[in-house]
Amino acid sequence: MRRPERIAIQAAGLITPIGQDVDAFWSSLLTGASGISPIERFPVADLRVGRGGEIKRLSRVKEWRHVPDCRATRLLISAADELCTQAGLRPLPLGADRVAVVLGTALGGVEEGEKALGGDRRIRRLRGGLYDSPAHNLARWLGARGPVITVSTACASGATAIGVGADLIRHGVADWVVAGGYDILCRFVMRGFDALRSLTREEIRPFDRRRSGLLLGEAAALVLLMREDEGGPQRLGSLLGYGSAADGHHISAPDPEGRGLERAIAAAMREAGIQPSDIDFVSAHGTGTPLNDRIETSVLKRALGAPAYKIPCNSIKAPMGHTMGAAATLEAIMCLLASRHGQIPATLNLEEADPECDLDYMLGGPRAARPGISLSTSLGFGGCNAALILEGGAC
């Protein structure tokens, strides 16, 4: 089997509860700033938990004329605005039909659907409720006229989008791909997770003995993918490998052995042509639920073998909440920023390590280290698992 070519990750753009651009995001990760707060944008009084990683004000983009009144779209455009600034994407410097958009989401435009069912009879509101609607809105804003693809593999969506986007380039379907993930906080998802009782009233504490569940957050995160030989020297890094696998176990619970995630990691390492000993850093899914963190730990031990104990591993869900479709892309960007800046953010709120989560989960503050190759893992409802192998760019 011929190894797939590496794909350059040229630039990134994002909006999160802890920063509305890459620099602010990175700074917050290092300082341990929290973006968790009481939710204000919609009613939550009837819910057990009314906190999350809510973005209070979209401050980057000032002019929303010709942009639909759809929060998911506006988060995406905020992130894209930064990406465009970083990469000189507006106007597009190459044929618009060679620029693709591949987005991952767990919820799409569901809030628009809620509004449509709630009495807003405007047709565009109804159309906005489709899960692929925000991707088409972003493509229009970018002026991209290549494939516009929406993938939805729950919390692994942001990784799936990068994997599919890379294949579009490898097989000549597109030259540049704006890939990433997004999701918003809305009543729909808050009610759902509240009903599942998986939201914590405490802090999110990934891998901590006292961890009691997750909180949700909203974000959009995008990267610009292109062929390795077209990426400039200032590139953020490269995608070396991607793998996915289904659990085939349960609609909402992960496989108790984590076999799907293990297969996804193995596939990503195979595609990257690396061994476990080549991995310098692991960005774990690390939701802070008792089950996820224990399963993920056991998977990493099996997939990476003895080196697993020596590899620093973190979770960045505590300061933002679980940003669902955006999470995997944010975590991939974090891996590359760690390589660029020579520091690995700590796992916020991890204070008492769970004996069953006995890997190097980055307790305390950020660590001075410059990971070359990183592994980023994602697990999603429905038994979706994905893994990315990334390499940092030039310093």
Partner: protein, 280 residues
């Protein structure tokens, strides 16, 4: 250019009946005054499936039909050497609406709604290989077929199932509001392709549409089935009731995707085209 997959089997259920042979000559005439034609809920004598949403059960039925077509047992597709790709434009609508309207999603928290159908298929048939869900109309299915080819070419699995399900009954009033009913009735469908490594070539292209969409061709017989349309087109090709689908095309959201597929078509049929373009 990718190596094309070979089509081993097709499972297809539409509101017209099983398989492409059940399609009427003209969907509009056959539908009469019905704007939505439902597939109902296939019967599965399994306790586990009693509370599973209808769209998921339709997905299971499509895979069963595909296995029957292949004359294969479930063991033939179980395990990590089978990839599963799902495409749908709106099958998640029913579960989402149930949750929004009633404040309860039944057995499902519809956060998983787009991924619920392939998840249930993976659970039921023990499929644990590569996995992805593509959202949209016919282009989503064409891209799933293309992605299947990438998985097969990279030897990440030995076979890929491309599953598509579309349901409309639960959201019929919304589709009417959305003016999607002009021209053709909405016809519920569920289809599954069994793809294996092939010998031909496959190319995917995409462009943004200008002018009016093609309203003839397969849709005239089938009605609107969104993401299921390419599955129907392939089933018709296989049955010899349509021209060879050297180029499958489909439009959605202002863009058109085309899939050029040179095998497993007979050489004599090359150069012809089966247009599956739909409105979106």
């Amino acid at each position: 250019m990718l190596t094309a997959p070979a089509l081993r089997a097709v499972g297809l259920l539409t509101a017209w009946g099983n398989g492409g042979a059940a399609l009427p000559v003209d969907a509009l005439t056959a539908a009469g005054d019905r704007s939505v034609l439902s597939l109902g809920r296939p019967a599965f004598d399994r306790d586990r499936l009693r509370r599973v949403p209808r769209e998921c059960v339709l997905g299971l039925a499509a895979v069963e039909a595909m296995l029957e077509d292949a004359r294969a047992g479930r063991e033939a597709i179980s395990g990590e050497r089978t990839g599963l790709l799902y495409a749908s434009a709106g099958s998640y609508g029913a579960s989402n609406r149930l949750f929004i309207d009633r404040g309860s999603g039944g057995a499902y928290f519809p956060y998983t709604a787009p991924a619920a159908v392939p998840a249930e298929v993976a659970i039921e048939f023990g499929i644990t290989g590569p996995y992805a869900v593509f959202i949209g109309g016919p282009p989503a299915t064409l891209r799933a077929i293309w992605y299947a080819a990438t998985l097969l070419e990279a030897v990440l699995c030995e076979r890929v199932l491309v599953l598509a399900v579309e349901t409309f009954e639960e959201c019929a009033d919304l589709y009417i509001r959305g003016r999607r009913l002009t021209g053709h009735p909405l016809v519920e469908a569920a289809g599954c392709l069994w793809l294996e490594p092939g010998k031909g070539s496959l190319a995917l292209e995409s462009h943004h549409r200008h002018g009016r969409p093609n309203r003839g061709g397969i849709r005239q017989r089938l009605g609107e089935t969104f993401a299921c349309e390419p599955v129907v087109a392939l089933d018709l090709w296989r049955r010899g009731q349509a021209r060879t689908p050297l180029c499958l095309s489909g439009a959605w959201g202002g863009e058109t995707a085309r899939l050029w597929w040179t095998e497993p078509l007979a050489a004599a049929n090359r150069g012809q085209r089966c247009d599956t373009e739909t409105r979106g």
